[in-house]
Symmetry: C2
Subunit: 293 residues, 2 copies
């Protein structure tokens, strides 16, 4: 079957989902998109093969998630010919949102585009960026945004958190911040990690890395919160990184404060080469174990 | 009974409320605060008399609502003496949030303070400021913020909306934008009304006036949306204002996009004089009909 590779950019509120991945009997983001694609493309549902940039856990949100999917070129052309205004891509996004979104609005297709040659949502990225939001004072608690902000009791020292966060950036073995998975690498480049308060007094972390091991962002945030509370010295956090042994000095924070904000891809001409490079890098270990997320 | 006048600043997500005012059998913000105050102050519930700056309709949100309430000075002192850390005001806010908020988090006491002499939450304000949020493109729809953003189908011309909005500012009879209420004045000073897109492409209106007549903000937004769609010329909107007759040229927009953001009060030394002035201004009409909101 001749196919067209589509890139879908999507946003979701993770509250009412069991996470990204389809699981029998549970509501997942993948499941909702699969179902809508199956209806629109007249594929059997099990033939829809979504490939995702970052498999988010239960309760985690996204404003910049990216997937790719190969769909029937014939059906794509038929839909395109039948459209009423706008480009084929806009019409496709509108139809998808019509099928998905009417009910609850917690998943939205932000944009549809025809993928560049060689584009792979999972293997082409050069980085993933997450945001974590914490309200540590009553005055910063906006009930409208409670679904995606952690309400923390006790004042946090944002300056100390920011300094500690910055000290963790660079190429390191993040084993101390990863839920262990056999034969999955924990060596990552943390490109950016910092804390600041927004105009409403909410603490916001920006965390960007080439890729993340399992629960890494929530663990990095947990470490910074311990520093912000004064229960952990900044140097202790650096030492935990150096020791590269799973840390028990602080808890992993709740999923609700976490949002996948953006996935960085190279220029169109480079996406194929980047995907090949990423795939090659993971071969020393079991290719069935996915070190990327 | 010796009393202390407290000022409470509060925030709420209006989605699950029938509006500000207590109504039998319905969940209201006033009802939730009344109940918590009655528990904390050991008042009978019907003795709690909240006075509010802006009585919001069903579904309308607030991040800067203000109320005042007179509580027993003896009980205030007892609570203050029994506190474990922080100021008496902080401790009071924490206790209130403990009683209110555990369940759903959709109402928060942001701040508690002892009111300045003569302070009246309803009569002292010099202005009220509202915000209205509209996402007119899929790429601007953030599912995390769907409770307080109108999702509008069809592109809106923000430049035309902003120009039309600005043309309505000043002292006018806003009868064309008010749900008529017998003997309530519709003469208002619209201090600020403008539209812009935020960094995510969401259309945001800032609307500020000395006070608003019923449904005025949602009607002003409805008029601007009609201009943004091109179904109403900007001059037609100005003409509707001049005619001062209830307009049928555009619908009132949904409550969900609307948030009371801030209530402006004069300096502490002026709040009493301002309250007296506001009260005096409403006497020509039936004082039972409240022209302020």
């Amino acid at each position: 079957m001749e196919t067209v590779r589509l890139r879908l950019d999507l946003a979701y509120d993770g509250t009412a989902f069991s996470g990204w991945s389809s699981q029998p009997g549970l509501r997942s983001i993948q499941g909702v998109i699969d179902e809508a694609l199956a209806v629109l493309m007249r594929h059997p549902k099990h033939d829809v093969r979504l490939v995702v940039a970052g498999r988010t856990d239960a309760g985690v949100h996204a404003t910049g998630q990216v997937v790719h999917v190969d769909v029937s070129a014939a059906r794509w052309r038929a839909l395109s010919a039948a459209r009423r205004g706008g480009t084929a891509e806009q019409s496709f996004a509108r139809r998808m949102n019509g099928i998905i979104g009417g009910r609850s609005g917690d998943v939205v297709i932000s944009r549809v585009s025809i993928a560049a040659a060689g584009f792979d949502a999972r293997f082409s990225p050069i980085w993933r960026r997450y945001e974590y939001r914490i309200a540590d004072a009553s005055s910063a608690r906006d009930p409208r945004r409670r679904s995606h902000t952690l309400w923390h009791t006790g004042h946090l020292d944002v300056g100390a958190m920011d300094a500690a966060a910055r000290s963790l950036t660079g190429l390191h073995d993040f084993a101390a911040f990863c839920k262990p998975r056999e034969r999955a690498t924990t060596i990552r480049t943390l490109l950016e990690y910092g804390w600041s308060r927004d105009e409403h007094g909410v603490l916001v972390a920006a965390v960007r890395a080439d890729a993340f091991c399992h629960s890494m962002v929530r663990s990095l945030v947990g470490g910074a919160v311990a520093v912000g509370l004064g229960t952990l010295e900044p140097q202790q956090l650096s030492q935990i990184l150096t020791d590269a042994v799973k840390a028990n000095a602080f808890p992993v924070v709740a999923a609700k404060g976490l949002t996948l904000v953006e996935v960085g891809y190279p220029a169109d001409a480079e996406v194929g080469a980047r995907a090949a490079l990423t795939r090659a890098r993971r071969t020393p270990m079991d290719p069935a174990v996915d070190p990327l997320d």
